[in-house]
């Protein structure tokens, strides 16, 4: 980051070192630096400009970088994503936002039929370096379509990559990394975590390059999963907002002498199969936790990858603790729907108490 850059509201001016930032601030900081470092990067969507986004992720960016770099669009998600394709053809690096996860549905044709396929259709001559930011998942008691878990849908589409950070540090580094990629990345931000603070290591000026070269960044490679907590008895696999909940569960389980490892998958496509094999190879038991509905969810994919690599040593079938096969419920029922501490503990119990035959 350039030393002459002006800090945005709410962020201290220090150019490097570790700072306590909320995920919202970390994302805002990352976008600010992306705009400063890449003249072809453009940010746009509904209310991204003057308002700074409904979650304020783009706060202050238009005032600082100008209306050509950060702009408001009319209210039309297909338009926003279709426009991204044309901008990418013209050599730009679009960073569009859909305001809430459920509003990605009106744009699904542009995402699936256009963004995901243009590189293939054009035999690699028209790459789509698009980072689509999607405030994702539930937990904020929002109206219908303002809390959805679309990861399995996106991950199933050939041509898309999908990532979800769980901490402010990862949000900062993964967003910078995603925006430097030549392929489309769906960046799923756990909106219930936007206001949680955590340490963000700003020392690494060029995290994207470091990660791409296979180098470590803050002790973890940005291209794969991250061990959020080490443990011996069982692995909880999670992503997004569920990582923090699994860490809570691990603390509670520790009181009963159960040593839980928490693997933050981070990339939902490509999934870090090696990290799954390493973790579950060690613990020999696994529970996958996600907010999305059970059936055909990513938990099934994770369970299969674990089975494939660890079948001989697994002590129990891989368990899943997930949302249910129902439309995402209203705020009053949200706590019943999203995997809570008790349900995850029951999942752990099922795995620990499994007996063959």
């Amino acid at each position: 980051m350039s030393e002459t850059m002006t800090a945005l509201p709410g962020i201290e001016a220090a150019a490097a070192g570790v700072q306590q930032l909320s995920m919202q601030q970390a994302l805002n900081r990352a976008l600010d630096e992306i705009l400063a470092e890449n003249p072809k990067a453009v940010i746009f969507g509904e209310d991204c400009g003057r308002l700074g986004g409904v979650f304020r992720i783009t706060d202050g960016l238009q005032a600082k970088h100008g209306e050509d770099r950060v702009f408001d669009t009319p209210l039309a998600e297909s338009g926003i994503l279709g426009m991204s394709v044309g901008l990418a053809v013209a050599g730009f690096h679009p960073i569009p936002e859909v305001q809430f996860d459920g509003f990605a549905y009106p744009a699904i044709n542009q995402i699936v039929c256009q963004i995901a396929r243009m590189n293939y259709r054009s035999r690699g001559t028209l790459p789509m370096p698009i980072t689509l930011r999607v405030p994702s998942f539930g937990g904020i008691r929002a109206p219908e379509h303002h809390g959805e878990s679309l990861e399995a849908l996106f991950a199933h589409v050939p041509g898309l990559k999908v990532v979800s950070p769980s901490t402010p540090n990862d949000a900062y580094h993964l967003l910078k990394y995603a925006a430097a990629r030549p392929d489309p990345v769906i960046f799923m931000e756990p909106k219930s975590r936007y206001w949680q603070k955590g340490p963000v290591d700003l020392t690494s000026v060029d995290a994207a390059t470091a990660a791409h070269d296979g180098g470590a960044d803050n002790g973890s490679n940005l291209t794969g999963a991250r061990v959020a907590r080490e443990g011996r008895h069982l692995t909880l696999v999670a992503w997004g907002a569920m990582v923090a909940r699994c860490l809570q569960v691990a603390e509670l389980a520790a009181e009963d002498g159960i040593d839980v490892e928490v693997l933050d998958l981070r990339w939902l496509k490509p999934i870090d199969a090696e990290a799954l094999a390493t973790s579950v190879g060690k613990t020999r038991r696994a529970v996958v936790v996600h907010e999305a509905p059970l059936t055909s969810g990513l938990g099934a994919e994770v369970a299969q990858l674990i089975t494939q690599s660890c079948f001989a040593t697994l002590k129990a079938p891989v368990e899943r603790v997930t949302g249910f096969d129902v439309p995402y419920p209203s705020g009053d029922l949200e706590d019943e729907y999203i995997p809570n501490i008790d349900r995850i503990l029951f999942g752990i119990q099922r795995v620990l108490e499994y007996r063959r035959g």
Partner: protein, 350 residues
């Protein structure tokens, strides 16, 4: 039609087409006509699995494509723009390879040809054109220097929401984009009157504050002039233009279609009007721009060209299977790489 009233201001300096250009337009139309009718025959002969003919739309396609400046403009087609492609000088074996089922999107280079890959979601590329055009604005070209996006779609596609979003976006952002509608009367089996509310597609432009014009799509010179005016209008920084070229799809929607189920041969003859190629030929004769020897030579060249393209696509072998895996991403995923490895080991196409 309404061309001059709307766009005359930026079109005052436009010179009339020279005799050389008029003959060039005819040569292109003859080449497109022959290639198009031949492609239908190729399908019947089993050379290609399918084709979407454009018989009767030669004037709309050649006239508009001829106006495009290939050094700075960019065209976003759907799948029935063979005549535009030919007028823009694309590698036609590369273009036809999509109909040969060699590669979705064709085998030409979109960046060099300024012609985006062929695709089937008909309104999808209309928004791409708006994004590309806005990119020209962001790039800050001097007035009169900007590239213009041309997007092609039909009366059927105009029913899709993306066209509405595209026109609204373009108007709000004053994007240099020409919405070129070929209204050929039919969206497969549905006639325009049951497809397009409000009388015409051009009429919709008024709702967005976009200047529009309907043009006789069977008059190649009128189409060229309308497109040239629209491009000049966009280049001068005045925002988008809608052109609706009124033409007629004389043949089936595709080689799999049976128009006999939704229109009679008599209706076809009556509604299609004058053949645009024959009409232009008569005009060139009447005006002394070309003679029978010229037409014979144009036909000879068209046949020669078609033969070379046919040979080219017949010689196209199947693509190496590894491309299926190698062209999905710029940075392939480990899972995809392991699927490619498994495919290599398990198949005989090593």
């Amino acid at each position: 039609m309404t061309t001059k009233a709307v766009l005359a201001a930026v079109d005052d300096d436009a010179a009339p087409l020279t005799h050389h250009q008029l003959r060039e337009l005819y040569t292109l139309m003859a080449a497109v006509r022959h290639l198009d009718t031949s492609a239908v025959a190729w399908q019947r002969q089993g050379i290609i699995p399918g084709y979407a003919p454009e018989l009767g739309q030669e004037a709309a396609q050649v006239g508009s494509g001829y106006a495009v400046d290939r050094t700075r403009d960019f065209v976003f087609p759907t799948y029935r723009e063979m005549g535009v492609a030919r007028a823009m000088g694309l590698d036609m074996v590369g273009y036809m390879s999509t109909h040969k089922a060699t590669w979705h999107g064709g085998m030409y280079n979109p960046l060099e040809s300024r012609f985006a890959p062929i695709q089937a979601v008909v309104a999808g590329s209309v928004l791409h054109a708006v994004g590309w055009a806005h990119g020209q604005t962001l790039s800050g070209h001097a007035e009169g220097e900007t590239g213009v996006a041309m997007t092609y779609f039909g009366d059927g596609a105009s029913s899709q929401g993306d066209v509405h979003e595209a026109m609204n976006f373009a108007a709000v952002m004053k994007a240099p984009v020409v919405f070129f509608i070929q209204n050929n009367g039919w969206a497969i089996s549905l006639p325009t009157e049951r497809q397009v509310a409000g009388g015409s597609v051009a009429a919709r432009a008024a709702g967005y504050g976009i200047p529009s014009l309907q043009v006789d799509g069977n008059d190649v010179v009128a189409v060229f002039e309308a497109t040239r005016s629209a491009l000049a209008h966009c280049r001068a920084g005045n925002g988008p233009v809608v052109i609706e070229a009124m033409t007629y799809r004389r043949g089936p929607h595709s080689t799999a279609d049976d128009p006999g189920r939704y229109r009679t041969l008599d209706e076809e003859r009556t509604d299609a009007g004058e053949d645009p190629l024959e009409r232009f030929r008569q005009r060139l004769l009447d005006e002394g721009v070309a003679d029978e020897a010229f037409f014979a030579e144009a036909q000879r060249k068209a046949e020669e060209e078609e033969e070379a393209i046919r040979t080219g696509i017949e010689d196209l072998g199947p693509r190496p299977g590894a491309e299926m895996f190698g062209l999905v991403f710029q940075e392939p995923t480990p899972a995809l790489q392991s699927q490619a490895t498994a495919w290599r080991e398990e198949s005989e196409h090593v």
